[in-house]
Symmetry: C2
Subunit: 362 residues, 2 copies
């Protein structure tokens, strides 16, 4: 198949391109905006062992209509995978400028893609990366994009109500609503992957960029780096915040499953893409145990939560769709933590301590 991967320079985009290139024609697209953000915010990360340039990339901005529409028109892809958005809740909540940049950039790129497909390639299957964070933390089970509602004796299948807690997550909610619209009114084929946070320093092919700072790093990466650096693990608040997570290899498998089982014409399909739920405390405790068993001196600190979020909440998220298609989870185990600690230890001298503590509060 002909597959365009937008956001090919990312932690997920790069392994996805390399994986799919085994048996598909992949067009890798990026505008390198994330590199700009990392450099301009003086953020350090552990380097990737494969460079985007090896994939013969197309350097265009999805927010530029002329560029993306011409690419879609020329390639006529079977599939577009869209990772090309500004990530990070803290980045979007730091100030108005970053918030507006995040939301306007993400919305515009997403709208450009659906307009380009409508006009030039309406049969293309669009696979869009969203996040479980769109749902927030409701007091009921989180279903996959839809909720069967019975109300005053009548029933309907409705879009699952979403309740984001950052401008970044709000931008993803907007995207999802626009995608639902594009399938409802224009008949596009859309899969919206509401993904949990991804862990793991390597796929079968590549060790991609590994961020561990307060803005672009996940809590798990930050804890791994803190354990290696001899810094206490910084749990935000009570640490009972619970999130869906998955391994990097499982993300690649999910993308393959979505490609091999495409959405139908006019279908807006939502998969919750994660394999297991962990609280921040559980993650910290596992790293504490494995780290101390490995001879590191790991401590845990509960620091004031810089975020507006619920620290105690119900959390039961469904993920039947991808599991039923054959996803075989790589659950987070002691040996995975051990492997990540060893990997990061190789770079111990490069770790920048002053980007570990939260600098953005909201």
């Amino acid at each position: 198949m002909k597959i365009i991967v937008l956001g090919a320079d990312g932690y997920l985009g790069l392994p996805t391109c390399i994986d799919l290139a085994r048996d598909h024609t992949v067009v890798a697209v990026d505008n390198l905006l994330k590199r700009d953000l990392l450099v301009s915010n003086d953020i350090h990360y552990l380097h990737s062992d494969v460079e985007l340039n090896e994939l013969d990339p197309v350097f265009i901005d999805v927010a530029n209509w002329e560029s993306i529409s011409h690419l879609v028109k020329r390639i006529q892809p079977d599939v577009i995978i869209n990772y090309a958005e500004i990530p990070s809740a803290p980045y979007s909540m730091a100030d108005r400028k970053q918030g507006m940049k995040t939301i306007m950039n993400n919305i515009k790129g997403n709208l450009n893609i659906i307009y380009a497909l409508k006009e030039f390639s309406p049969k293309t299957h669009l696979i869009k990366l969203g996040t479980l964070g769109e749902y927030g933390t409701p007091n009921i089970d989180i279903e996959e994009g839809y909720l069967d509602v019975t109300h005053n004796g009548r029933t309907d299948r409705m879009l699952y109500p979403k309740s984001p807690f950052s401008i970044y997550h709000l931008s993803k909610v907007h995207d999802s609503d626009a995608l639902a619209f594009a399938s409802r009114v224009w008949g596009l084929r859309v899969t919206d992957l509401n993904q949990g946070f991804v862990w793991g320093h390597e796929s079968d092919d590549v060790r991609p960029r590994f961020t561990y700072d307060d803005v672009f790093g996940t809590a798990l990466n930050r804890f791994i780096v803190q354990a290696v650096a001899g810094h206490p693990l910084t749990v935000y608040g009570k640490g009972n915040q619970t999130r869906g997570i998955l391994n990097l290899r499982d993300t690649l498998k999910c993308i393959r499953l979505a490609i091999e089982n495409p959405a139908g014409e006019g279908e807006f399909r939502v998969f919750n893409q994660f394999t297991e739920s962990w609280s921040i405390n559980q993650i910290a405790n596992l790293i504490y145990e494995v780290g101390n068993d490995s001879g590191l001196d790991v401590k845990i600190d509960h620091i004031q939560n810089p975020r507006k979020e619920k620290e105690d909440h119900y959390y039961n998220v469904k993920n039947d769709s991808l599991m039923n298609m054959g996803l075989e989870p790589h659950y987070l185990r002691r040996e995975d933590i051990k492997s990540m600690l060893e990997y990061v230890s190789e770079f111990k001298g490069e770790i920048v301590n002053d980007q570990i503590m939260p600098r953005v509060k909201w």
Copy 2:
């Protein structure tokens, strides 16, 4: 109170400013974009008998951060009423450029306002005009912004799922989600008025701009003009499409009720602002009857529906909030139709026939 009215040059904005100026300090704001759209699309309308200039307006664009933030900072309003968005489903669905213009303009203005309030006037009560069209036509009762959900034995009060059928309506859904976010995370006071379509050629103070074209006119206005011009009333498709409607005077009363009963800190409140539901056929039939009784020769044509919408659907929308606050509806009666027919007859010579038929299809 000090009240900023954004979109003061509109069909609703102008009467609102004049009405509120009786007993409040009103700052009327507009960038005259709507006039640009009307002129550049060669759209004719019946003229207002009051000009915006009489209100000593501030000519700024809400999408310009520097302008709107400085205004908010300087005025420190008790209330902001936001009508300042590009309206019209057909305008937004005509092509990509108009669609993008609508959605990016509306979202940006709305976000600028909530950022300006967060930074410079967090106690201000924001009253935002949304539309019943955000909900689409679900198969269950339409509640006021929230739905009490019981699911797998647990309960939560969630945002009511929305399902828009045009880019314009999608932009309003985005706005509502952003407003809910602003109250949830930043503690702003917000009232979102999900309004039906407004009929009536006059308030107590003013006969505002009366549009009747296929893009900016309502079906009711179009039918009135067609009856006067001797053109068959053009019902789109079956005509069983049902919508909530209200009189212009009731809109003004609703705004007053929202002002007098402000949202609390961190409250996102949604009122469904309409007084009765009518199908397009019912409206056409009433105008047919009254017109023919008045000596006009009125016919009804069912033409191919240019829109993507359900022509047969369930429609039961709640409006308890404003009714319980004391709204006394001006229901649509034969004498109202008679009065509108007489008013439009005064301008019979000005009617432009070739903007009555639908030119935008989707």
